[in-house]
Amino acid sequence: METILVLTHADETGSALTRASLEAVTAGKELAARLSATLTIGIVATDATTAASTLAATGARLLAVSGEAFAQARYATDAAAVEALCRAAQATIVLAPGSSRLTRVAAGVAHRLGGFIDAHITALGGTESVEATRWFYRQRVEAVLSRDTRPWFLLLDAGTHAAFAGEPGVASVEQVAAELPAQRTTVIGFRAPAQDAQTIRPDAKMLFVAGAGWTKKQPDGQIHAAEAGALILGFLHATGASLGSSKSLVDQGGDGNSVLPFLTHLNQIGQTGATPRHAKGLSTCCHGEEPHVVGWRFIGDRRAISLDPNCGWTRGKADVVYIADAFQVMAKVNALLDAKKG
């Protein structure tokens, strides 16, 4: 019989669980119910009280590693914490959110325990055994896999399960001691654009992607990078959309050209960038070939504006493609959005 451990961790407050952790809890509950397995939830937090209260309604055994050392996300301490939780739970299957914090350490811990790991899991299925679905080749091939070996660690992609939301209550938590190695790494903080300049918005309903066409010569023979920047930022401001970009456009900035100064490699979508999850996506000035579109795998409703009637988007990769000049269209869109706001 399988025993399941769900690993969770606190957010930057040090006490509340991250959304991705709560999604992993849902996955764990569903899997435990299907396999008639016992469920344990492990918490890594500065103070696990709040997190445990959030999980009281799960009815699961709760384990926690807590203390100031776990306020910071770093390999040495987090690996020690996760290892201690795993050893205490003696689980055969370990589910964890694919957050930056746990992705950094889960493989190492799996190795320490003589176990195995698979990451970026998007679904858990199977009847007789556990079968995990994940993508290969940057979202171009979808595979279902299974393992006979245990313990088996599975890192779940964010957004693949609903976040657990039970009535908070009083929960009994077993504190687990973690043996900490010497700490050679200190986290000194976070670096992010100013709040109003942050263009990456994972919770936005919409993704707006700017391609290299924005900085190409326009019909008047000139490059209009400043105008392009104003149109893009105006749209983001009006809609709250998240901004993605093609690699070629970001690279232009890296080469020292005066292009769109608000774009960084963090905005990159596709083969060498992110694969975000949004309900809608609007592509502009991007040719829609495979290296770009693999980053759109989890975008629901897709539209594109392109001057090329034979671009990749028209070949079954978008729902609607407008063959038009994005400068003209986006200026009109922004004007309409402004008028709508009054």
């Binding site: 493989a107 799996a110 990451a119 903080g189 028209t314 493609v321 003209q328 009109k332």
Partner: protein, 270 residues
């Protein structure tokens, strides 16, 4: 005080991203159709790691750089013809299968064994670089497993920047959720850095660098040890292309005003 590093970059081979990929199932599990004849390139994120490593080595005289790569010898030779023209390195090839379907643990074991066998590698000065994920398996676990096998407990993933300090410590920027970087300071080597894109542009081809590299690459390829990758209980139930081909409506004759009105309605719709 001068910093001197022994930098090892782990980098795999991936199909050129413009190629059409079709999964096929053989006696050893899934693979890609005509995989051996698909043009291959160095994995993009690992290539970022290589360029950052070369930049770091150039700025810190006395530093050494090795590129450890697992793949069929013929493929390695083909890809190295291009990569070798970019930056100077010593190749440590491991002759093994190509592709994303072999088990990451087995790959990590082969890479760790190859790194351990590098003569003159000073583990106290080691910076182990690689991509934070590959463009084949894309699991983002192989480098951590290599690091754990080598006993490295200062690991960073999604790295975009490293800034050295005079005392041997360094500041690292790692990508975290929400378009932010976590900033950490590590006391010094040994450390593992899984790179995202970094900040360097791809170096231009330099035939002189290429010729110098190839003088050591070809003998290294001839000496490459074969690695047999264990399945470790991994079993594939299926591997297929996504079926979601969309029915695209292509609007060629709509005026910008009409398009804008339709888009605004679409944006506002739930």
């Amino acid at each position: 005080m001068a910093n001197v590093f022994d930098i090892v970059v782990c980098a795999g081979l991936v199909p050129d991203p413009l190629q059409t990929l079709e999964p096929v199932t053989g006696p050893n599990g899934p693979g890609l159709k005509n995989e051996m004849v698909l043009p291959a390139v160095l994995d993009p994120w690992a290539a970022s790691a290589l360029y950052e490593a070369a930049n770091l080595a150039a700025k810190n005289p006395g530093s050494k750089l090795w590129l450890v790569s697992l793949g069929p010898k013929a493929k390695l030779q083909q890809v190295m013809m291009t990569v070798a023209q970019k930056v100077s390195f010593q190749l440590v090839p491991v002759d093994g299968p190509i592709g994303g379907f072999p088990d990451a643990h087995a790959t990590a074991a082969a890479l760790a064994e190859a790194i351990t066998a590098i003569p003159d590698l000073d583990r106290a000065k080691l910076l182990l670089f690689g991509g934070w994920e590959s463009a084949t398996r894309g699991a983002g676990v192989t480098l951590q497993l290599v690091g754990e096998r080598l006993g490295m407990t200062d690991q960073f993933q999604g790295v975009d920047q490293i800034d050295l300090r005079d005392d041997g410590s360094f500041e690292v920027l790692e990508r975290v959720e929400g378009g932010k970087h976590q900033v950490s300071v590590c006391a010094g080597t040994p450390a593992l850095l899984g790179w995202a894109t970094g900040n360097l542009a791809e170096p231009r081809n330099n035939p002189q660098v290429g010729m110098a590299n190839m003088r050591t690459i070809m003998p290294a390829l001839q000496r490459a040890k074969a690695a047999k990758l264990e399945a470790n209980g991994l079993r594939y139930v299926s591997a297929a292309l996504p079926k979601q081909q969309r029915t695209t409506r292509v609007e060629k004759d709509m005026a910008p005003d009409e398009i804008a009105a339709e888009l605004v309605a679409w944006i506002g719709a739930e």
